[in-house]
Symmetry: C4
Subunit: 353 residues, 4 copies
């Protein structure tokens, strides 16, 4: 195979290189995968209207997320267990993000701890994706560790009170035995080990807990234990966005969890405008879901997103050749976004086109 | 083949296990099968809008049909001749329904009599699907027997004054010789046997009669001979639903007969709202047609149905491995419905999402 | 192959039985065949809304065309050169129509003369499709002959001032040498034979003439030479229908010439309502194009057509086994139409459903 | 293969005859090629509404572009490097245009100079497509040469401040070594050769320059150095069309650059009406993109275009057999357009149908 020159090439390479079970884990969506395919297809429902004959010799690609400048408005979404895709795992990904000067959102289910990620890429813009566990002490310890390590904010997943089961994963999936959920390894958990449970088992058990009783009042609690910005990840309607604004969140990530949890929810680009309008400037709005080209980025920005996040494409680049692959994915999107910005005729990013 | 984990798996298994003529009989729709495929596809025209951060640790899956509580809002629709799919036939199906605490609607064309079904599953919630025959005595005897056996209501088919011929059945179909329409076997039919006709032949003849002169005034007659609730099965428009309400029916089953009779009628989910609005709370509304996932159930409930009924999936489970297969089909829908309810963020079933 | 039981079966049989050039001639549409496929597909854009619980034990299938009763509202459209499909050609078709008591529209390009058709099926309801030629004498002779033979009206083609070239016929098509355009054989043409032209050649030449200068004033002329009813064949817009009414025509056949001439015009069922509304009862309206099922007939009747005409299906039946095949095609549509009428719950044909 | 009788035949022939890299260069569109396929498909969203019974024995196919009469409203769009398709290259194309009495737009990237093109076809209606380079002297020399050679106007490309990269060209494309950009060969460029650069290298370098700082004020400059008409090529919105009118341009070519630069922009036929309405008669409007049939031409003319331009079809004809192929392509469109005009019932071209 010749060197990949497009997202499709990377996807095809990853499909070939990854063990089948890992490929299925990464690529699958919920139920009939209607929303999975719609996430990508929905972009084609919107048309670009170029302004011609502006001077576009200089364009400003930069944006900011939660006050931090990024070189271009594409950041890395939390996806789990990167060591399944490449031995360097999360380290490869965060270093690619660092080198491109864009943001990296670490998954709570990382196979590398936030400490090791920080040590490997101290200058990277890092955020931490997490849940509020029933045992709030767990959440508190994770928050405090992230604060000490210079993480710049939290993306709280609000769309998974329970797990939906992706169609391809109806048969059991489990983390390969040589890997572990590193963020939970050294937790000092108040209720301790269960009978006959090793510390490694405990980490897996805790990681797999989600909290069906999580509710709006938990946001206030989270704000009470940290001054870092908080973004709600997984909002899909204007009503929920307005409710989030009431809690004084710093941002909303419009996301359907990569269409992995709940088939039948809208494609994210289809609800982005509704949410931006509902928020009315009172917090930042980002989106993930189906972004594959620079023109997808343009459309999200045009609808009011400060940045987009990419998930599966990062895994494809990682599977192909680690840090270099992830970096190339980002470079392609950067070049395509720049070209799109010039072809649509905007010197400055703006939602006015 | 590994154990089935989805509706699709069961459908594929049934396609392989059943004799071709039986598969064709079960799977076929009328004419071009436009409505057949639309019944399923139509669900994807509606999008789910999740409410996040509600406490969904406890959700109530239950509903009621005609006053009888059911554990979750999926019941078994009348489909014919179950012994063609599995030797245990209707017995396997009703026992699966009994074990899951949901309702079982018995077809008039069952290959097991209502007496035998009742003996096998006395605690099952049972309803009886029937026609009003030209010879009302036939209907009366069926009604009286069902009453004595503890059936809880009647689903009167109003959409088949004549039979449409499913495309795949343009060549002759006939019941295998070792099976018979058991509900008609012991009828005491006033006009007796035709010349040279055996009692078995008579049962087949009567079963195959439908009544093109059935009309609204027949509803009043049926109400005059029984106090059990009456549901009209096969309503597809708001006008007809309003007319049914005038007759003081207890419920309406929005159904297009599995798209077997009349190609070109709407997908049921597409007309459910219209009918719920027309009925305006004056009787219960249910639907069948194309339900394959928990999210389909959620959508039907959201549009105002008290319960959905499933037809072909039951036959697939039955063909795969009898009672166990039917039970697994129901369990999958139960789990999926519960997950969907939690992911859409509703503690209580409600049409308000 | 087993005996055909559907339109699709007949189409497949014809594809196999006919010489390729003849199959291409009959099946092809103009350019990209967008309108060709749309003619059929458009029917699926309309949904049937059944009325239940009417007494449909007796339904009246009959209709009238230009005052002549027909047994059910499906007639035979003019299609050319039937002897290419079967040695009995037009004779087989008209006898099938006669036996089913529906109308037969004879093509000007028939390979059997109107005299021979009349002799073979004197009781058939016969109409004659024609053009107004530049040499009006030709048209006049044809009209007078048809009048003498008991034809009941004329369908004047108004949609072909020139021929569009069906895509599949860009290479030359010509009538097989053993056949001829019989209606032109004995014309007494005023300007006589061209140099070296045989009478047979002359017939072919005249038949292939169409008249690009035909105009509205020609209708008045045609009315001046005959008292038989006149139907305009090939109207596709409300404006044209209103214009036709001004000329006191007796009927309008909504038709796009089987999508053979002009790709990109609307499917006929899509414009039928517009035309019926424009006509406002001032003449009869019929349609052809894409009718393949009884439900298609129901939809056309519901939109206000007095009858539909079928073209290609007749050729398929003819190719399969002559008169018997054509008759079976008609019988299938009759049964399907009757069933559809009963399932939609109408005792009488009416556009009110 | 038999002689081609349709666009599709020519496309298939070109696919077979051309070296793969050339075929990819000509046929590819940007990114996912959504706009590429939409350019053609969009035409099928519009339906033709025939007027019948007009005298169409005489129809006027002619139109004018920038005051110059053309025999029918189909001209040749600028496409690059014709010698890659056929040894006679641009000469073959311009001679075909000359023989058909329609206009020829020469690409700045021609492999034949405007001098040689003019010598070969002095009577052809010739226009010149160009850019305004940063070094305005280059543009000025090109303009002056074209003026001297009798070119009748300029099509200024305004949609390519930078190059988008067609998906199929992500790997490097370069002009075959035996060809060169002839229009740049004899430029007298003020800043001269770079170190070690040959004159041939210089031509390639200059040709590959586009100017991201090009802006509206450049139009005034261009008008200041020439009295020939100026058409802006690559307008896709009504806003831009209005802005162009303010600069007193002579025409607008609605174009998305053959969908090669910017995926996600609208199909040209979809925006043509918007632009014609915005322009409100103050300059001429043309379109290119997806024209393959006479009915496509009819639709563009009906929406207000004075003429359409064709790109890839010319390359297909050229690849098949040079001048003869291009001429046949044009002849097919001429015949199809004439037929369409007669079938839609218009004696005169008019946007009123």
């Amino acid at each position: 195979m010749s060197a990949p020159v497009s997202m499709k090439d990377y996807e095809n390479s990853a499909r070939k290189k990854l063990p089948k079970s890992v490929w299925v884990y990464y690529s699958t969506g919920a139920d009939n995968e209607q929303t999975l395919s719609d996430n990508c297809n929905a972009f084609s429902r919107y048309r670009l209207r170029p302004r011609v004959l502006n001077d576009v010799s200089k364009v400003n690609l930069g944006s900011t997320v939660l006050g931090t400048p990024i070189d271009f408005p594409v950041c890395i979404a939390a996806t789990g267990m990167h060591k399944m895709a490449h031995p360097m795992g999360e380290i490869a990904v965060v270093k690619a993000a660092e080198s491109m000067k864009i943001g990296y959102m670490q998954s709570i289910w990382a196979t590398t701890s936030i400490e090791d990620v920080t040590a490997a890429a101290p200058d990277a813009i890092r955020w931490f994706q997490l849940y509020i566990y029933k045992d709030r002490e767990i959440t508190k310890q994770l928050v405090k560790r992230a604060e000490r390590l210079g993480y710049r904010g939290f993306f709280l997943s609000v769309d998974t009170p329970v797990f939906g089961v992706p169609y391809g994963l109806r048969t059991t999936f489990s983390l390969p035995p040589n890997l572990s959920y590193e963020n939970f390894k050294d937790l000092d958990i108040s209720d301790g080990l269960a009978d006959g449970e090793s510390k490694h088992d405990l980490a897996e058990r805790v990681a797999s807990m989600v909290n069906p009783s999580m509710q709006w009042s938990d946001i206030a609690w989270l704000k009470s234990i940290t001054n870092l910005p908080i973004v709600l990840k997984g909002i899909l309607t204007g009503e929920m966005a307005k409710r989030a604004v009431k809690e004084n969140v710093d941002g909303i990530l419009v996301s359907n969890h990569g269409a992995r949890q709940f088939d039948g929810v809208p494609a994210t680009i289809d609800v982005l405008r509704e949410i931006v309008q509902a928020v009315d400037g009172k917090c930042e709005v980002y989106m993930d879901g189906g972004v594959r080209n620079g023109t997808d980025v343009i459309k999200a920005i045009a609808f009011g997103a400060k940045a987009v996040f990419i998930g599966r494409p990062v895994l494809w680049g990682l599977a192909h050749n680690g840090q270099e692959g992830v970096r190339h994915i980002l470079e392609m999107l950067r070049v395509e976004f720049k070209t799109a910005l010039q072809l649509i005729g905007n010197k400055e990013q703006s939602k006015n086109y």
